[in-house]
């Protein structure tokens, strides 16, 4: 004992992951080398054609008697060439004595350095006379009537698209690995963790002189054999004393992770390009204001989810979790297939609404599943399982969807989403089956809940100055303005998806960290205010940022949004728990929490509806700044209304004491 040993499970997974990464690295290396080899002759052809075009233009001028040193407009020729071919790095014209007449894209020193550099050997196939590879450039040199012409192409240009592909592949690998982990978790739970825990429970009962229930587990391997013997022993003892033992039917709450992951992932696949997809349909429908129609439909999904959830909760009691999830998944499948095949805007409205109703039903079924299969002491961890699945889907969905949309088309991406919900529909019978501990549907939003919430002034301030602005910012900026702005700049859906993914990553890392900080510090209101400021302050700079800085601006604003919201969300929940009228809040069952979630979802739907007209009137970057300003103002108002009076009260109490 004592010496560190390798954990077989971890070692096994590590071996599989390393093998996969090695194989993918090999494939990527092959793609780069083979791709370069096959593409190079085409690059050389293109370079020669472009150089000949410039040669003909200059020679025409020289033939007309214009001296080479008096040639003008070469910079315009270079700009025109560069516009059509971004791989071009420089253009140089020299006279017969090799003096530079015009040099574009390179300094004179760099040009002379390049001319003096040795040619790359062996020369790759496909080079024509006058072409060489030097100092990282494919140089095409052609003679002029009086002088020489040099056109340089970046040698890396060939590798660039293949290198960009690494990001796409990295996203695919990340998603596939996470999906594998999500699939493995229930398999390992069902076959190892759950039977082991059941065996431990029975053994602990035996140790205290009580005869435990037969575990009823059904697993293989050494553990399975041990459990069979344990069961036989308990059965024999019970039989000899004419006692009956009840067989436990274990339902694995961990299954909810995969089910939550699948339905959220399916919906998130379209996140990076949905506004543009809607705008394309709106443009084909006469009489519509495209911006407004796009904003309304982007937000409609969240609003429909908010409205459908109370009805789904009523249906839960009648249908039960499996049938409700199955029905929801089928509706979502139909909605996503319809979204992919929609012929016009009004079609799309119907299909998006159907998809939202399906989303609401599956969400409620998952919530109910957690409530029914957990007890008070493990309900929070059950809910954390569900939230974990949703967070992973939030991270992977937009990035993976962006890659799929760029490569296979937006319609196909929605069909892939439909495939995922259909898979969820098939899996639910296996993953959610089993006897419920108690039949207990999730609490639904009621008028009494609204009355309770709105009677509480402090709660109302939380909702209006913290919760609603945060949700508006999330949906208005991240779901609408960001994709519209970046796609408008010419970014691909895959690139937008990778930026949107940063929000989920920030939430994943920041959420638990800031939740612990909130619990320790007991200064929730300060953290809510700070989160509000962090998430919105950078957005004020967006209207003034140059287009060249778009990447860093997008990354930093989305990261700040994620960090800010991962700070404020747990603190908000903690504050509402303190302000709630019932003590059931730890199970997510207080009317205040239910109402808060409803208002958040409904408010979330308003985000794109507000952002779209603003973007149409003032431009997307200005609209982003305005949304940031609204949230920053809300945060400052929150400080004035909540934080400062609370500090003053504490100070007065201190003086009185």
């Amino acid at each position: 004992m004592g010496s560190p040993r390798l954990n077989p499970a971890a070692s096994g997974l590590a071996i599989a992951a390393i093998a996969l990464l090695l194989a993918l690295s090999g494939l990527s290396w092959l793609a780069t080398t083979t791709g370069t080899q096959l593409l190079f002759p085409e690059l050389a052809h293109k370079a020669l054609a472009e150089t000949e075009q410039v040669q003909r233009k200059i020679d025409t001028a020289l033939t007309l008697g214009i001296p080479i040193e008096q040639l003008i407009g070469i910079d315009a020729v270079y700009a025109g060439l560069k516009k059509g071919d971004t791989d071009i790095a420089f253009l140089a014209v020299t006279d017969s004595a090799d003096h530079i007449i015009s040099l574009q894209g390179l300094s004179a020193t760099a040009f002379h350095h390049m001319l003096a550099a040795a040619e790359k050997t062996p020369a790759p196939e496909g080079l024509s006379d006058g072409q060489s590879l030097k100092a990282g450039y494919l140089v095409t040199a052609l003679p002029l009537e009086a002088g020489s012409l040099f056109l340089g192409h970046d040698e890396q240009a060939l590798i660039r698209p293949l290198v960009n592909n690494f990001f796409d592949i990295a996203v695919v690998v990340l998603v596939v690995m996470l999906l594998a982990a999500e699939v493995m978790l229930p398999v390992i739970s069902a076959n190892i963790t759950s039977p082991a825990n059941a065996a431990i429970r029975v053994l602990k009962l035996l140790a205290t002189g009580r005869l435990g229930a037969v575990t009823g587990q059904n697993t293989g391997g050494t553990l399975g054999t041990f459990i069979v013997h344990l069961d036989a022993f308990a059965g024999r003892i019970a039989g000899s004393r004419s006692m009956s033992l009840r067989s436990t039917d274990t339902v694995l709450v961990v299954s909810v992770r995969l089910l939550a992951f699948l339905f959220v992932f399916a919906e998130e696949l379209g996140r990076s390009f949905l506004p543009i997809y809607i705008a394309q349909h709106a443009a084909q429908t006469p009489g519509l204001n495209i911006n407004l129609a796009t904003g309304v439909l982007t937000g409609l999904h969240m609003s429909c989810v908010a409205v459908a959830m109370p009805f789904a909760t009523i249906l839960y009691a009648r249908l039960g979790r499996v049938r409700l999830y199955g029905a929801g998944a089928l509706l979502a499948t139909a909605g996503l297939v319809g979204t992919a095949l929609a012929a016009g805007y009004w079609d799309l409205v119907v299909w998006r609404a159907l998809s939202a109703i399906g989303y609401a039903a599956t969400f409620v079924a998952c919530q109910g599943f957690v409530i029914e299969t957990t007890k008070r002491d493990n309900r929070a961890s059950g809910m954390a399982m569900m939230v974990g699945g949703i967070t992973l889907a939030d991270i992977c969905g937009p990035a993976f969807g962006g890659v799929m949309a760029e490569r296979f088309g937006q319609n196909t991406t929605f069909l892939i989403g439909a495939g995922m919900t259909l898979l969820a529909c098939l899996l639910v019978v296996r993953l959610m089956a089993g006897g419920a501990r108690v039949a207990e549907p999730p609490q639904r939003v009621t008028l009494r809940g609204f009355a309770t919430t709105f009677r509480n002034r402090r709660l109302l301030i939380q909702v209006c100055l913290a919760a609603l602005p945060a949700k508006l910012l999330l949906t208005g900026f991240l779901y609408y303005l960001l994709p519209v702005t970046l796609l408008g700049f010419g970014w691909s859906a895959a690139e937008v998806g990778r930026v949107v993914m940063i929000y989920g990553l920030a939430m994943l890392v920041g959420g638990p960290l800031f939740a612990r900080m909130t619990d320790r510090g007991k200064n929730q209101a300060t953290i809510v205010a700070l989160g509000g400021v962090i998430s919105s302050v950078l957005l004020l700079l967006v209207p003034f940022a140059p287009m060249e800085a778009a990447f860093w601006v997008a990354v930093s604003t989305v990261a700040a949004l994620g960090i800010g919201q991962s700070m404020s969300i747990p603190a908000q929940v903690s504050l509402i728990v303190d302000l709630a009228t019932e003590k059931e809040v730890s199970q997510g069952q207080a009317p205040e929490l239910t109402v808060l979630r409803f208002i958040e979802r409904f408010g979330g739907g308003m985000g794109p509806m507000i952002a779209a007209p603003l973007a149409a009137r003032f431009g997307t970057t200005n609209a982003t700044g305005m949304l940031g300003l609204y949230c920053l103002a809300s945060a400052f108002l929150y400080v004035l209304v909540v934080l400062l009076p609370s500090r003053r009260r504490k100070a007065t109490a201190g003086e009185d004491a």
């Binding site: 593409l39 052809h45 082991a196 065996a199 140790a207 002189g209 050494t222 004393r241």
Partner: protein, 256 residues
């Protein structure tokens, strides 16, 4: 029974891991292949655009002088010249705004008119089994449509390059999938291997049930995984009670 179930667990875990690995490799290969096709098409399109722009310039000089496309007699010679100096180009055509070909020089007997699907566009690119084509729309000095230019390059070289890279990806992908699957199955066996400490506990249990009371030569800390340690620890804690119950020395246990 237990052996069958044991292998079934390994099969489940191994199967899931292999499926996931193959999916990742297949997707990566397809993405690489599509990116290659895109890069190749982009290079060809840029090159053909250069030629199209040169012909367009000649045509625009005539338009600026007030000569409609049908009346520019020099165009045929220009088009033929470009076809001769660019052996990779298969067809160059100048067409009217309604799609009617005005001049067409073609090395083959093909009569396809790829510009028909792109009338009215400023520039376009298309790939079909026979060729890669680019086109430009030409406007008169008043900005109205005057004509269009279409250039087609044979797709043979393109298809050959795609076939080469596809074959290499298929071969490498299969090899990679096989290697990954082998490693993954080995990993699954490692994952699902028998637990020696728990096995000792089970043998000890069986002996107790058979009426003998062996000395326990194992401890929870010997186990390699936490769950196994916890089961063995719980068993060792319950062992005296099990021995008593087996020997009938215990009070009647209470049902739970």
């Amino acid at each position: 029974m237990s052996s069958g179930k044991h292998y079934s667990l390994i099969a489940k875990i191994g199967g899931a891991m292999v499926a996931v690995s193959v999916l990742a490799l297949a997707l990566a290969s397809v993405l690489n292949l599509l990116r290659f096709e895109e890069a190749y098409q982009s290079l060809v399109a840029q090159r053909l655009q250069v030629t199209a722009q040169e012909i367009a310039r000649v045509l625009e000089v005539g338009l600026d002088l007030g000569l409609p496309v049908d009346s520019q007699d020099n165009l045929s010679g220009t088009v033929r010249h470009y076809l001769i100096t660019h052996p990779d180009i298969r067809m160059i055509a100048i067409h009217a705004c309604d799609g009617r070909p005005v001049i067409r020089e073609d090395r083959s007997d093909d009569t396809d008119e790829p510009w028909r699907d792109h009338l009215g566009k400023a520039s376009w690119f298309s790939v079909d089994p026979d060729g890669l084509s680019v086109g430009l729309g030409i406007s008169d000095p008043l900005g109205s449509c005057a004509a269009g230019i279409a250039i087609t390059q044979s797709a043979d070289a393109y298809h050959a390059a795609v076939a080469t890279i596809t074959n290499r990806f298929l071969t490498a992908g299969l090899a990679a999938a096989l290697a990954t699957a082998t490693a993954t199955v080995a990993a699954a066996f490692l994952f699902g291997r028998r637990r020696p400490t728990l096995q000792k506990a089970d043998e000890d249990f069986t002996e107790i049930l058979a009426g003998t009371i062996p000395v326990a030569h194992f401890q929870a800390e010997d186990a390699s995984e936490r769950w196994e340690q916890e089961v063995v620890a719980a068993y060792l804690a319950a062992r005296p009670a099990i021995i008593d119950l087996t020997a009938g020395r215990h009070h009647d246990p209470e049902p739970h």
